[in-house]
């Protein structure tokens, strides 16, 4: 007995039962004891020095109208100056379209609308005709979008990709990346799980190689090396090079997500398909892949979020997406004022945040739905 009593983990005396929890009152633990109190005070201090000045800068002290930098200078206004919103108004079209010719901007708008109209029902789980919709978005939309944006056919004047920019480039790179990497990723994932060793090893090397190098290196590779390996007659344009690089890079990550989905399909499903006399392609296409893809959708959305954020890297190979246009706008002497930098970052940050946060919430929602389906 005494031996037990000296052992560290055993309490010799019985504890008094605690009072039952008060379930009606929500406990916030803000002031309970000195530790909570200290933490609360510290948090309030952090809010005071970070959040309040930001709010004051963005709204209270902000300049809302004006036409040049002088409207945003403290000397002209006579007050401390916060965000310089006229800067955003003046540069808005540059942030969205880059230097896409003004008369042709309706084409970019039409592409945006078309994409949104096709994407929205795809995202709503209850909307019907999912397969047709997916084929339209991943197969038909890129082709239509290409002819709309590039032109040079159907009576549309040609717009060179060098004049593209802003959010247009961000979206084009992200959507093309995801649309191209999906089929490529499926093939790679199937190859990685194939029974043919040569295919399997090939897929492993391909996937691990691209996952092991940073995207900047992939972009440099695509921009500077890729043209050297192609016949000189194929002069591929800078944007296309970047798209190839991004797609290959994304495909490697996509393959891993889809492989996870494939692993989640029970073996009995393969065996059942085989017992029905379906060959490899039909059992994969009709039985295994639909289930695997369903499970991988949240992962695919996460890849899309990553890709959307990673599109900013095209800046390093002189393609000016939203962030690139922002940087270019900072260099404009007409608008250089002390608050321009923070205003620009706040605006672009809000756009990136809205897109990414929305998508990540959507992916969470899908995960929850999948879990519900599985538990049922």
């Amino acid at each position: 007995m005494s031996d037990i009593a000296t052992t560290v983990f055993v309490r010799p005396k019985l504890l008094q039962p605690l009072p039952p929890p008060d379930r009606l009152r929500k406990r916030w633990h803000i002031m309970g004891n000195w530790k909570d109190f200290l933490l609360t005070v510290l948090s309030l201090y952090l809010i005071w020095i970070l959040v309040w000045p930001a709010f004051k800068f963005l709204f209270i002290d902000a300049v809302w109208t004006g036409s040049s930098r002088s409207d945003c200078l403290a000397e002209t206004v006579g007050l401390p100056v916060g965000a310089c919103w006229p800067f955003i108004t003046a540069k808005f079209s540059q942030f969205v379209y880059g230097f896409y010719p003004e008369s042709e901007r309706w084409r970019a708008d039409l592409t945006f609308v078309l994409g949104a109209v096709l994407l929205l029902p795809l995202l709503i789980p209850r909307a019907p005709y999912k397969i047709t919709n997916a084929v339209l978005f991943f197969g038909v939309f890129p082709v239509v979008g290409y002819f709309l944006l590039v032109g040079g056919a159907f009576g549309l004047p040609y717009v060179e990709t060098r004049s593209w920019g802003g959010l247009l480039v961000t979206l084009v790179v992200a959507v093309t990346g995801i649309a191209a990497s999906l089929p490529l990723g499926i093939l790679l994932a199937l190859a990685r799980r194939s029974e043919l060793p040569v295919l399997r090893i090939g897929a492993v090397i391909f996937i691990e190689f691209w996952r092991g190098v940073p995207l900047v290196a992939v972009l440099f590779f695509a921009t500077f090396i890729l043209p050297l390996f192609l016949p000189p007659a194929w002069e591929i344009d800078g944007m296309l090079r970047v798209l190839v690089g991004v797609s290959v890079f994304a495909a490697a990550y996509m393959a891993e997500v889809i492989r996870g989905g494939l692993q989640a399909v029970p073996r009995a499903q393969y065996e059942g398909a085989m017992a029905l006399g379906l060959g490899y392609w039909r059992s994969t296409g009709l039985v295994v892949l639909p289930q695997a893809l369903r499970v991988s959708i949240p992962g695919i959305v996460n890849i899309f979020i990553g890709l959307f954020k990673d599109t900013t890297l095209v800046l390093t190979v002189a393609i000016f997406d939203l962030l690139g246009q922002l940087r270019a706008a900072f260099a404009d002497p007409n608008w250089s004022s002390p608050s321009t930098l923070f205003t620009g970052f706040a605006f672009a940050g809000a756009i990136y945040f809205l897109f990414c946060f929305g998508m990540s919430r959507y992916s969470l929602f899908l995960e929850q739905r999948l879990r519900q389906d599985r538990d049922r």
């Binding site: 560290v8 983990f9 055993v10 309490r11 406990r27 916030w28 633990h29 803000i30 909570d36 933490l39 609360t40 948090s43 309030l44 809010i47 029974e195 043919l196 060793p197 040569v198 295919l199 090939g202 190689f209 996952r211 092991g212 190098v213 940073p214 900047v216 290196a217 440099f220 590779f221 500077f224 090396i225 043209p227 050297l228 390996f229 192609l230 016949p231 000189p232 979020i305 959307f308 954020k309 990673d310 599109t311 900013t312 890297l313 800046l315 390093t316 962030l323 940087r327 900072f330 002390p338 930098l341 923070f342 970052f345 672009a348 940050g349 990136y352 945040f353 990414c356 946060f357 990540s360």
Partner: protein, 397 residues
């Protein structure tokens, strides 16, 4: 009648050659290899003819040529007349520096925020949550540019530097820190520190093993602290050989001290802040993955909150946390290549950036070296992490 049927059943079924699985598999793989070779052959042939028309001489000979440009931060002596080989080393060391420091700091910050997100204090948990959501949903390059242009770029000029206790100076050209100066006998202090650390580690292991055998928990905190006094004794015995050189403003610039370039500061802050948000989520997930009944059982056994955390929750949470942690470390290392966006001279920026522009013709070699380096870094990190992971699992079972 039956005899004929039996005879038919005994014969192996006849299968057309193109339906035989083994033949098909060999044929398909051979076809795949052939296609791959043809593809590679075409690429190499194209590259050859393209390079020939440009008059490029391929090869790694350029590595011995003089680089001809300076680098704003070098951990080893470097001058513009040094070779590309040297330049590569300078860049690699800069990458390792920012990645190593970044990994340590991001782990600390990530754990703090991850635990804060689970705090019972409503306000603390909410603030940690807001941090994670905000940081994770903004592109890293955006954040780096924000730190570099908007935060560090708008700091006061050199002459109006912000001074921290008169020892550290912060301005728009970087941060100036005091520099330690090692005198005679500094080596023995370092040696004493190493010995003390080793002794504490040995003591800890011994106490642990004893606890495993006898169940007795030894308090090793005070003896351990005593052992850590050893380097202090050595410091006193050698007459305090470690001093600091304080930076001093002379004219328009600081003399003495260590100058941390703003690009480094921006990259480090950006990488740490960004990666910490991901690590925080991993830590939170890991702690939540430990089932509640584990800590309930520990409390029922009379363990204190701290001991429950240390002996029951954390060891089990670590098993869940470490594999994704390894991939966050890898991502941080790969993301350090975004230095090219703000001009910190890391491997990518000096080698694939400036050196590529300078040599022009050697693009294939330079990109190949750079990619191979990152690939090697990735493989080494993941191998180390797998090793650690395997050890942790063995200890558990």
């Amino acid at each position: 009648m039956t005899a004929i049927e039996d005879d038919r059943a005994a014969r192996p079924p006849r299968i057309a050659l193109h339906r035989n699985p083994r033949v098909r598999s060999v044929f398909l793989q051979a076809l795949f290899v052939l296609l791959l070779f043809w593809f590679a052959w075409e690429l190499v042939a194209n590259a050859r003819s393209n390079l020939a028309t440009k008059g490029v001489i391929s090869g790694f000979g350029f590595l011995d040529h003089s680089a001809g440009f300076d680098v704003s931060q070098a951990l080893i002596p470097y001058s513009p007349t040094d070779s590309y080989r040297r330049l590569y080393l300078v860049g690699l060391l800069n990458t390792l520096l920012v990645a190593g420091l970044g990994i340590i700091l991001a782990t600390v910050l990530g754990f703090v925020i991850g635990i804060a997100r689970l705090s019972g204090n409503w306000l603390v948990a909410r603030m940690a949550g807001a941090y994670v959501e905000l940081i994770r949903n903004l592109p890293l390059l955006f954040q780096l540019l924000f730190w570099y242009l908007a935060v560090l770029g708008t700091l006061p000029a050199t002459r109006e530097s912000i001074s921290v206790f008169g020892a550290i100076f912060v301005n728009n050209r970087g941060v100036v820190l005091p520099r330690p100066i090692l005198g005679d006998g500094a080596n023995s202090v370092g040696l004493a520190l190493l010995i003390a650390l080793f002794a504490v580690w040995a003591l800890w292991r011994w106490a642990r093993r004893r606890q495993m055998v006898t169940g007795k928990n030894l308090k090793i905190f005070w003896p351990g602290l005593l052992l850590m006094g050893l380097p202090l004794v050595a410091l006193a015995a050698t007459g305090f050989p470690i001093g600091f050189e304080l930076p001093e403003l002379r004219g328009f610039n600081f003399v003495g001290g260590w100058r941390v370039i703003p690009e480094f500061a921006a990259l480090l802050i950006g990488l740490v802040v960004y990666t910490a948000a991901f690590i925080a989520e991993t830590v939170r997930g890991g702690i939540l993955a430990v089932s509640r009944s584990q800590s309930d059982a520990a409390y029922a056994l009379g363990m204190t909150r701290r001991r429950t955390l240390r002996l029951i929750v954390i060891p089990q949470a670590l098993r869940v946390i470490i594999p994704p942690l390894a991939s966050h470390y890898l991502n941080l290392t790969k993301n350090s290549s975004l230095a090219v966006g703000i001009g910190y001279p890391d491997l990518f920026a000096v080698f694939a950036g400036t050196a590529l522009n300078q040599t022009g013709a050697q693009a294939i070699e330079i990109i190949a070296i750079t990619m191979a380096t990152y690939l090697a870094l990735s493989l080494v990190t993941s191998a180390l992490m797998n090793f650690y992971n395997a050890r942790l699992r063995l200890v558990e079972r």
